[in-house]
């Protein structure tokens, strides 16, 4: 009744040559989630919950900050052509815009860094790859946040 076309055979010698035997056992691979001596006692804590909440809350605030920022910089009052040293100096003379930009810098950097952290956790397969990628990420984040904060607070409009 039925015919079969095979691209490869599924039948092999039942007692064929094996790479491993009693004296040379196959390497043992630990199953995921298995409890071993190396398994940490507890990986529980509120950090992941705080990170999850932060993503939602900072996202909502960033929508307002970033859209406002883009409107002011690119659309209103002459658009992008008005931006120059004098424009930035004029805005940062007011504490309101200093706080706005500082908040946007911190929230956007932490939001993006946390997002990339989860991407690395989800996609990097080896512990070493994770370690290096996250090290690079945290270094870049801290550097950018500190540099930006420094500029916002020490900006001198009379610089020569």
């Amino acid at each position: 009744m039925s015919t079969t076309e095979k691209t490869a055979t599924g039948i092999g010698p039942v007692e064929g040559e094996s790479l491993y035997n009693v004296d040379n056992p196959a390497p043992y691979i630990e199953a995921p989630r298995k409890r071993t001596k190396k398994t940490p006692k507890s990986t529980r804590g509120n950090f992941e919950m705080a990170a999850w909440l932060f993503m939602r809350l900072s996202g909502v605030v960033l929508v307002v900050l970033v859209i406002g920022h883009l409107l002011i910089q690119l659309v209103l009052d002459g658009g992008v052509s008005k931006i120059g040293f004098a424009f930035v100096a004029g805005r940062w003379a007011s504490p309101f815009w200093q706080v706005w930009d500082l908040l946007m810098l911190w929230l956007a950097m932490l939001h993006g860094a946390n997002g990339l952290r989860t991407v690395i956790n989800d996609y990097a397969e080896r512990a070493n790859t994770r370690l290096w990628l996250k090290g690079l990420l945290y270094t870049a984040t801290v550097f950018t946040i500190l540099l930006g904060t420094l500029v916002i607070f020490t900006f001198d409009p009379n610089i020569r």
């Binding site: 076309e5 095979k6 691209t7 199953a31 529980r44 509120n46």
Partner: protein, 253 residues
């Protein structure tokens, strides 16, 4: 009287319900090769039959070495979850006619778990995560079945959706976060924790929430809805996970 009966038999055989379907099955036998390969089987089968019937035909008539799990064959035991045409389904609940039999039907083992042979995977990590959430009734005073534990219809309704789980692993093995390192608890474990967390008779909800507050707990869920799409029982898995997240947050703040 005999003539019409003969006619009817001939008419039936003329209009044969059988069609020819190609089953493209992912074969793996570690005793032969470390590589998994695709193998094609041509079958004469009624399109109203199920993918599981096709696999039975292959195993019983064509190639007895084909290995797969199935027990009840009626969508309740949860043994035969597999990736059919790229989607996690139960082979015993999928009709041939519903998955375009004109093209080859691909059948693979579920992803994210170690393949042992052909369509059989090692379910141990899956059940370890299940055991970790303590899927049994816990009460403070006594666990002895001394009297019936009453519950209102509304209280029962609260977790009704998550009682439907049959532990087939279709959801967990469709989750991209689980595919990476298999450390994430997975949708199935969270669904079964949800079933007890929201049960008014159970008193260890706090304990279970604490377990799922793990680094690899509910917070690794990316709400991709793969689990909800894959569930052969129609459980709103992503919603259940979101309810556990909400319970964790409202409990702390």
């Amino acid at each position: 009287m005999a003539t019409p009966v003969m006619d009817k038999v001939e008419a039936e055989s003329a209009a044969s319900p059988y069609i020819t379907v190609t089953f493209r099955v992912r074969r793996f036998n570690p005793e032969i090769s470390a590589e998994a390969t695709w193998e094609d089987f041509q079958l004469e089968i009624d399109p109203k039959e199920r993918v599981l019937d096709g696999l039975h035909k292959i195993k019983w008539d064509l190639d007895g070495t084909l290995t797969f799990r199935r027990s009840c064959a009626h969508g309740i035991c949860g043994s035969d979850a597999m990736r059919i045409n790229g989607k996690n389904r139960l082979a015993c609940k999928t009709l041939i006619k519903d998955i375009n039999p004109e093209k080859p039907i691909t059948v693979e083992p579920i992803k994210g778990l170690t393949v042992l042979k052909d369509l059989v995977v090692d379910m141990e990590p899956f059940f370890q995560a299940y055991r970790d959430v303590m899927p049994f009734l816990i009460t403070k005073d006594t666990n002895e079945p001394t009297r019936e534990r009453f519950q209102t219809a509304e209280d029962r309704e609260r977790f009704d959706d998550t009682t439907k789980c049959i532990l087939c692993a279709a959801c967990t093995s469709s989750c991209p976060v689980f595919w990476n390192d298999g450390q994430y608890f997975g949708p199935a474990a969270i669904v079964n924790a949800h079933r007890f967390i929201f049960d008014s008779r159970d008193e260890a909800g706090e304990q279970r929430l604490e377990i799922l507050n793990d680094k690899d707990g509910v917070w690794r869920c990316r709400t991709t809805f793969n689990c909800t799409d894959a569930c052969p029982r129609g459980i709103e898995v992503t919603k259940a996970i979101a309810e556990v997240k909400k319970a964790l947050i409202t409990r702390r703040f």
